[in-house]
């Protein structure tokens, strides 16, 4: 097994006085789809932001591709950022650009491709995420929630990243769109050989596409493994979480 793509070790985070993470450690191997779950307020999104280099943890280290994110200088960090893509919760598309321009933006900034080729590649990515050609010239404000997520995914994939971060990819989508989006991510991650790390609440996502789950509770990693592994852990929140699903399945 090659070295892990993400190495999180002993992260301690304190935000406005309260302790969010108290020694969080886990690894994510290449090619894996890993989900981070936990109740609200357990610092999932904060941890994600720490991994992608937006919020600095008080102590501990985070390595992406073997490179320490918080010890890297600007040039190295920039190099790292080109190797991963992030899908933000509400898409975070630039509202003053069309969908096509949004997807082409990373290509314009980070490659020496001609403007024409950037646009063509953007169109390719838009087609890959299953958006119709009519969506290309629309403004983000004219898109539905599901289409915005797809457009944002196309932008996250623009530079052919090896690693993809997803922040609640299915939140705000109806169950059918959510499943379609899961399916899309699975197909793309298989074909493109992506390592995927996602924060989610959606049990269906966990059951359908995730290889490994990391559970965050009370500032620590409560457990990690497959759904079956986690069902054995005796923790009230985790039991509730899975039993809700269990009742649904057997009702």
């Amino acid at each position: 097994m090659s070295e892990p793509v993400i190495e999180v070790s002993n992260i301690v985070t304190r935000l406005s006085g309260s302790l969010i993470h108290d020694g969080v450690s886990f690894n994510v191997a290449r090619g894996e789809v890993t989900a981070l779950i936990g109740g609200s307020g357990t610092g999932k999104s904060v941890l994600l932001k720490e991994i992608i280099g937006l919020i600095r943890p008080q102590s501990g280290s985070i390595k992406l591709f073997g490179e320490d994110v918080w010890a890297a200088n600007d040039v190295k960090l920039m190099g790292l950022r080109k190797r991963f893509g992030v899908l933000f919760q509400d898409g975070a598309l630039f509202s003053s650009l069309t969908v096509e321009q949004n997807v082409a933006a990373p290509l314009h900034e980070h490659t020496s491709l001609s403007p024409r080729e950037c646009i063509e590649l953007a169109r390719l990515k838009i087609a890959l995420v299953g958006l119709p050609a009519t969506a290309r010239s629309k403004m983000p404000s004219e898109l539905s929630g599901g289409m915005r997520k797809r457009a944002a995914l196309a932008r996250a994939l623009a530079l052919d990243p090896e690693l993809l971060f997803l922040d609640e990819p299915t939140s705000g989508l109806d169950p059918i769109s959510a499943r379609a989006f899961d399916h899309l991510i699975r197909i793309l991650s298989n074909s493109l050989g992506l390592t995927v790390f996602l924060v989610t609440h959606d049990l269906d996502t966990l059951l359908s596409m995730v290889n490994r789950i990391v559970v965050l509770a009370r500032g620590k990693v409560l457990g990690q493994g497959t759904v079956e592994d986690l069902r054995k852990i005796d923790d009230p929140w985790l039991q509730d979480y899975f039993s809700a699903r269990f009742v649904e399945e057997h009702a």
């Binding site: 290509l107 063509e120 990515k125 994939l157 052919d160 074909s191």
Partner: protein, 369 residues
């Protein structure tokens, strides 16, 4: 890592294209496209491909396409299994991406039409806005207890109290400069005392109302549009409607009424500051004692001059308020729109103030006021 390259080889009557090297967006120097015979049987040999991203796959397809080879005509051979799915994925979507990038051409007539329609829409929007606001006004008169006093007071604080220092400082300086420049001329004729007549008329009738209105248009107008616009983007305005509250009654009316009362008050303070500015220059430059200045002021300054100036302020205020609130309420749900509408508010309300002031001037002259 090796740069991408393409090689052509004949093999049992078939043409084999050998792609090698690293086909990713970091390696974008395109290899020379070899001449490919038109009706050749083609094989793409990928055994020597070191890396393939979607960008590289697309460029490879493009290169072949430009040489007259469509992806379907290719027989694939030896493409590493790790990158084969990428090749297939890109091949499926190739036609979607490739093609003419059409530029929207817009003729003069088209743009003229778009402009005309948007102007009509704008006018209809203004009429609609004023209409709704009038209905709210009547509702308020019917039931005055429903007035949002808290919001009104908060707005008065923001629009009036916090604007006092800047408004007074500006008009003080204008009075100062005006008196100084008039003084330079008046001294030539030994008519120092008439500077008082000039300063008082200019400040009270024109300078204070117009400059304070422009200040408020920039300061408060922009703030109102940006605030209402951001509320619109956050769906707060929708939330108000759902709670059974009219956003016009809760947000718009208190702001317009606050402006309506704040602007005349600011103009009055501006009047005082301008006269003080004139007084300082009269003493230092023209040698007029303060008592002389006030005596002269008392005898030449008519109440009428004061009322002419101050009566313009509420009208300016209503226009600034209407423009700012309407632009705020019509923001589209994106960040750029908030900026555009804020700019538009400032421009529109300053233009409105200056045009209105010109109309006032003509009306007052014709009425012999």
């Amino acid at each position: 890592m090796a740069e991408p390259s393409l090689l052509l080889k004949q093999e049992d009557g078939r043409t084999v294209i050998i792609a090698s090297g690293n086909w990713t967006h970091d390696h974008v120097v395109l290899p020379k496209t070899p001449e490919i015979p038109a009706d050749a049987l083609l094989v793409l040999d990928g055994t020597r491909i070191e890396g393939l991203g979607t960008t590289g796959a697309y460029r490879l397809m493009n290169t072949l396409h430009d040489a007259g080879v469509s992806p379907e005509r290719l027989e694939l051979r030896g493409i590493p299994s790790s990158v084969l799915p990428i090749w297939n994925l890109v091949a499926q979507n190739y036609t979607q991406a490739h093609g003419v990038i059409e530029k929207k051409s817009t003729g003069l007539l088209y743009r003229f039409g778009v402009g005309a329609v948007s102007t009509l829409r704008h006018m209809a929007g203004v009429a609609n806005f004023v209409g709704r606001l009038s209905i709210e006004m009547f509702r308020l008169l019917e039931k005055p207890s429903s007035f949002r006093y808290r919001e009104f007071v908060a707005q008065m604080e923001a629009i009036f109290i916090y604007a006092i220092p800047i408004a007074m400082a500006m008009i003080f300086l204008l009075g100062l400069v005006f008196a100084y420049l008039m003084g330079v001329q008046a001294q030539k004729f030994g008519a120092n005392i008439y500077v008082v007549d000039g300063v008082s008329a200019a400040v009270l009738r024109e300078l204070s109302p117009v400059i304070v209105a422009i200040l408020v248009a920039g300061r408060t107008g922009a703030a109102i549009t940006a605030q209402l616009g951001t509320m619109k983007v956050n769906e707060e305005i929708d939330a108000l409607s759902i709670l059974g509250l009219s956003p016009y009654a809760v947000l718009v009316l208190p702001r317009i009424l606050a402006l309506f009362f704040a602007l005349p008050l600011l103009v009055f303070l501006g009047d005082l500051a301008g006269l003080l500015g004139g007084m300082v220059v009269s003493k230092t430059q023209l040698g007029l004692e303060y008592s002389q200045y006030w005596d002269r002021l008392d005898s030449v300054l008519k109440m009428k001059t004061f009322w002419v100036g101050i009566s313009k302020a509420p009208i300016f205020a209503i226009f600034i308020g209407l423009i700012a609130c309407r632009m705020g309420m019509t923001v589209a749900r994106d960040a750029r729109s908030v900026g555009e509408h804020t700019t538009s508010t400032v421009v529109q309300s300053i233009v409105a103030v200056i045009v209105l002031n010109a109309i006032f001037a003509i009306v007052f002259v014709n009425l012999d006021i």
